[in-house]
C-alpha cells in the first residue's frame, strides 16, 4: 500500500457524509441502483476502520461528493471517453470522487452484456480508497491496484488495502483479522 505525499487523512470527524450529484449522473441506471452500490462500497471500508459513512441529500455540503462527468469537467483532469481512464478522486480532505460518464457502468454484469462494461462497485470501492488517503498499490490483487479490465469485478478488500487504511485510521474494533485472513485465503484458493 501507499499513501499520498504527507499522508493526508480525514481528521474532522469519524463520521463522513457522502452524496451523489443530482445533476451529474447516468440515465441508464436508476438512482436507487447507484445508491445501493455506493452504500456497499463504503461499507467495505467502514468494516475495517473506525470511520462511518452516511448518505446525505445535501450534495454541496457533504464531505464526499460523487458524480459522473464527461470530458473536461472543471478540475483540470479531463476524462477521455470509453475505457482509458475510468475515474479519479482527490486526497483527503477534498472529498471529490468523479466517474467518467462515457463508460458503460454496470451494477450487474450478468445483466449488462456490453463488452466494455465497467463494474461500478469495483471502481467506487477503489476511488473511496483514494478519498480516504490511499494511493495506488503494487499488489495486483489489491483493490488499490490502478487498473481494472472491462467486465472484471474486484470489490473485496485485500490485506494490503486493509493494512493501508488501518495505518491511517486504526482498526475498527469489530474487525477480526483472523477471520478476514481466512476469507482472503478462500478467495485466493478460488482464484
Amino acid at each position: 500500500y501507499a499513501f499520498f505525499n504527507g499522508q493526508p487523512r480525514w481528521i474532522r470527524s469519524s463520521t463522513l457524509t457522502y452524496a451523489l450529484s443530482p445533476d451529474y449522473t447516468v440515465d441508464y441506471l436508476s438512482s436507487s441502483e447507484i445508491r445501493r452500490v455506493v452504500r456497499r462500497s463504503f461499507s467495505r471500508w467502514s468494516a475495517v476502520i473506525p470511520v462511518n459513512f452516511t448518505e446525505s441529500r445535501e450534495y454541496e455540503s457533504s464531505d464526499i461528493r460523487i458524480g459522473f462527468y464527461r470530458g473536461e469537467h472543471g478540475d483540470g483532469e479531463a476524462f477521455d471517453g470509453v475505457l482509458g481512464v475510468l475515474a479519479h478522486a482527490f486526497s483527503p480532505e477534498n472529498g471529490r470522487l468523479h466517474l467518467d460518464a462515457a463508460e458503460r457502468w454496470a451494477v450487474d454484469l450478468e445483466k449488462e452484456k456490453s463488452k466494455v462494461a465497467v463494474d461500478l462497485e469495483s471502481v467506487v470501492t477503489h476511488e473511496i480508497g483514494h478519498v480516504l488517503g490511499l494511493a495506488h498499490s503494487s499488489v495486483k490483487e489489491a483493490v488499490m491496484y490502478p487498473s481494472l479490465s472491462p467486465r472484471a469485478k474486484k470489490v473485496d478488500l485485500r490485506i494490503d488495502d486493509v493494512e493501508g487504511a488501518q495505518a491511517l485510521y486504526g482498526s475498527n474494533p469489530n474487525f477480526k483479522l483472523k477471520s478476514f485472513l481466512e476469507s482472503e485465503n478462500s478467495i485466493n484458493t478460488a482464484t
Binding site: F4, L83, V123, H136, P146, L148, S149
Partner: protein, 98 residues
C-alpha cells in the same frame, strides 16, 4: 491502437507514437514534465521510466516494451498518478510497503 510496432522497439530506436507513450508515463508520474524529451526516440529516460512503471505495477522488469507492459498500458485504469511525487530518484520512498 497499433501497439505491435512497439514490441520490437529497443533503446535507440525511433517509433512513431512513442511520444504518446511518454505522455502516458508522464501523466501517471513516471516521467517528469520538466526535462522529458517528448519525441519518438526510445531514450535512456524512457527506459528508466519503463523500469519504474514495471516495478510499481508488479510486472516483469525488463526495461522493454514487452507484451506484459503493453497489456498493462492499454488496460482501463484509474486516473490518479501512480507515483505521488514526480521525482524518480525518490519516488519509491513515498510508498510504504510490507
Amino acid at each position: 491502437r497499433n501497439f505491435a510496432r512497439f514490441l520490437d522497439a529497443g533503446k535507440g530506436s525511433e517509433v512513431t507514437g512513442m511520444s504518446e507513450l511518454k505522455k502516458y508515463l508522464n501523466r501517471f508520474g513516471y516521467l517528469p514534465s520538466s526535462d522529458t524529451d517528448f519525441t519518438d526516440f526510445f531514450d535512456d529516460q524512457f527506459v528508466s521510466a519503463l523500469i519504474l512503471y514495471q516495478k510499481r505495477l508488479g510486472l516483469p522488469v525488463t526495461g522493454n516494451l514487452d507484451s506484459d507492459t503493453i497489456s498493462s498500458i492499454i488496460s482501463p485504469r484509474c486516473g490518479m498518478s501512480d507515483v505521488v511525487k514526480i521525482n524518480r530518484s525518490t519516488a519509491e520512498l513515498h510508498s510504504t510497503r510490507r
